[in-house]
Amino acid sequence: MPAIEPFKRFSAVAVPIDITNCDTDQIIPARFLRRPKDDPDYPTFLLHDLRFASDGTETEFIYNRPPYRGGRIVVTDVNWGCGSSREAAVDALRANLIRSVIAPAFGDIHYGNCIKNGVLPVRLTAEACEKLRLLLHQSPGATISIDLPAQCVTGPDGQRYQFEIESLDKQRLIHGLDDISLTLEHETKISAFEREYLANNRWLIPKASV
């Protein structure tokens, strides 16, 4: 597994994606889910069917157009990443070096998948997201700055927006933490719980395979 890159402060060209309820099937169509993460074509899987016509040629979709093409921050609308739990949606963002998505609301599972892979999901109000997208449309190539320790987004016009993030998620991102090794530090507690809990609930152990 590629290591998780810590996220502290980050500035990049941002791309506005004006799609409501942009589900993970749009972020990466299901037919790519069996592909390995190191597939050289992986970057093209992101928003594939919006970006490529059936003959494989590029469409006019905003992420295909320079300077948005190099954008590493996405600003979008409500319910980004709803639908399927596929973590490949985050893999596709990472394959394109996208490090943050700003939206008024996210699909819960996708939000968690982002956190665990070093991609920062930022929740701002619908009004703030709309204004940022407008500015990005007006000034192609404009940049957005994100300061995670300060929980602050600075728009292309210098306007600052505070955002909320749960403390544990913030720590996970700032330090690029891997949950498994951290959880295993609690091994004594896990084992003790497991022993007592299963002894008190014998019915919980599934009957042996028939």
Binding site: M1, D18, I19, T20, N21, D23, D25, P29, A30, R31, L33, R34, P36, D49, D77, V78, N79, C82, G83, S84, S85, R86, E87, A88, V90, A105, G107, D108, I109, H110, G112, N113, K116, N117, A126, E130, E166, S167, L168, Q171, H175, L177, D179, I180, L182, T183, L184, E185, H186, K189, I190, F193, E194, N201, R202, W203, L204, P206, K207, V210
Partner: protein, 492 residues
């Protein structure tokens, strides 16, 4: 309150503070069903609300076939293979009965890798030749692997299905799948709680599918985000387990990961005697516990919604989010009437994608194909409802009927349902996810319009440029025999 030895704290310093652990028993006097189960599984809880939960059951399907090699590469082992259950479902062609029937390539590799991993690592796997195989969310309850009071996870968003049996179940991502494989635990944030009460009596021809589509159109596709939903009320209690599973299944389409229903006699009758369910004195112990699970009188919810069962109609979705649904007697809505400009733009773009015009009566919309199946609607009751409509009629568009498991297929054949479908000109296939996710060879051609009993009408979900309308099994069968959306109540 920490009982953690200082040595542990030193290992991660301030990065992952463990000094805010609080006792696992929470102080609330009246608890909801969800809270009772959640609390019982807390190993560690932080003031922030993050809890390390013990996981009772982990289900896995073929799309996670790479997890085992990744585990090997990171030097980890599976902690509890006895609590892990696997079956291939996403990648199996519905014409294939064995592994060798799958053409060589990506699909076969996926299914084969899962099977080999199970053999090597010692977890239960229902392979393609085993009648117990099928869609992971169908076979969990069917085998009694899913039980009330459990915390059950699976790397699939429709894991919410299992909540119909009174357990806390939710979908997880691939990183979390590996975490559960290695630790049998998961970090979770305590969600807010929402109760959706459906009272009254459902009209004839109205099903669990219509209830959940109505709920989603009411609260919106992100209305449940951050919540665990509990379904309650007289209409829910009167529903069969199959119908309850349909409702819990689509909870994720309202944004909530978990949709639970209190266990009752329907639940216990359904589970009794199933292969992996407890028996004898263990069954009695379990039953005594399960009966303590329903929400306490006076338990508080963060949000309450009420739905009148009598007002629910056979429902059809028209857009690219399950929230866009109307009754069969309705018309395609006009975006001009929508006040919110972003939602208006979304509706305009959905109508363009779906090639629909505002004001068109739903019953005038013609379909090109029909799909009856998926973890939402492929259980025996669903097939019976579809067969009742198909009986003595002819499908006028290509129709695919895909049972949810090998056992459901056998049961349907025993009842002669396969004959009814075949005589109606419909195709009777082998179990699997099939055209719900359309990565097994079953898919729509670009531009084709489908009446589908599945759960997502997203763009391209059933094939590139496909157009999906979500309906109940009876409504899908009615569309198959008339070639357009037809009120199932108008067919004798």
């Amino acid at each position: 309150m920490s009982t953690e030895p200082p040595a542990r704290r030193r290992s991660n310093g301030d990065i992952w503070p463990v000094n805010d652990l609080k006792p696992t028993a929470t102080m609330r006097k009246h608890k909801t069903l969800f809270e009772k189960i959640f609390d019982r599984h807390v190993i560690i809880e932080r003031e922030s609300g993050d809890a390390l939960l013990f996981i009772d059951r982990h289900l896995i399907h073929d799309l996670h076939f790479r997890a085992f090699a990744e585990l090997k590469a990171s030097g980890h082992a599976i902690r509890r293979p006895d609590l892990l259950f696997a079956t291939p479902d996403h990648s199996i062609p519905t014409t294939a009965r064995t592994l060798s029937d799958i053409p060589p390539g990506e699909m076969r590799e996926t299914v084969e890798t899962l099977q080999q991993s199970a053999e090597k690592l010692g977890f239960t796997h229902f392979d393609m030749t085993d009648d117990r195989h099928g869609i992971v969310h169908v076979i969990g309850p069917e085998q009694g692997i899913t039980l009330p009071g459990l915390v059950l996870v699976c790397g699939d968003s429709h894991t919410s299905t299992h909540g119909a049996l009174g357990c806390v179940s939710f979908g997880i991502g691939a990183t979390e799948v590996r975490h559960v494989l290695v630790t049998q635990t998961l970090w979770q944030r305590r969600p807010k709680t929402m109760r959706i009460t459906v009272d009254g009596i459902l009209g004839p021809g109205v099903t669990g599918k219509d209830v959940i589509l109505t709920i989603i159109s009411h609260i919106g596709a992100s209305g449940g985000t951050g919540y665990a939903i509990e379904y309650a009320g007289s209409a829910i209690r009167s529903l069969s387990m199959e119908a309850r599973m349909t409702i819990s299944n689509m909870t994720i389409e309202a944004g909530a990961r978990s949709g639970i229903i209190a266990p009752d006699d329907h639940t216990y009758d359904y589970l009794y005697g199933r292969s992996y369910a407890p028996e004898g004195s263990k069954w009695e112990e379990a039953l005594a516990y399960w009966k303590t699970l329903p929400s306490d009188e006076g338990a508080a919810y963060d949000r309450e919604i009420s739905i009148d069962a009598a007002a629910v109609e056979p429902t059809v979705t028209w857009g690219n989010s399950p929230q866009y649904a109307v009754g069969i007697g309705g018309v395609i809505p006009d975006p001009a009437a929508e006040a919110d400009p972003l939602k208006r733009a979304d509706m305009v773009s959905a109508l363009e994608y779906m090639a629909l015009t505002p004001g068109t009566p739903v019953s005038n919309i013609k379909v090109d194909k029909v799909f009856i199946g998926s973890c939402t609607n492929s259980r025996i009751e669903d097939l019976r409802a579809a067969a009742e409509i198909a009986k003595g009629r002819q499908a006028v568009v290509p129709t695919l009927v895909v049972p949810g498991s090998g056992l459901i297929k056998k049961q349907a054949e025993k009842e002669g349902l396969d004959q009814i479908f075949s005589q109606a000109g419909m195709q009777w296939r082998e179990p699997g996810c099939s055209m719900c996710v359309a990565i097994n060879g079953d898919s729509l051609a670009p531009g084709e319009r489908c009446a589908s009993t599945s759960n997502r009408n997203f763009r391209g979900r059933q094939g590139k440029a496909s157009r999906t309308h979500l309906v109940s099994p009876a409504m899908a069968a009615a569309a198959a025999v008339t070639g357009r959306f037809t009120d199932v109540r108008s067919l004798d």
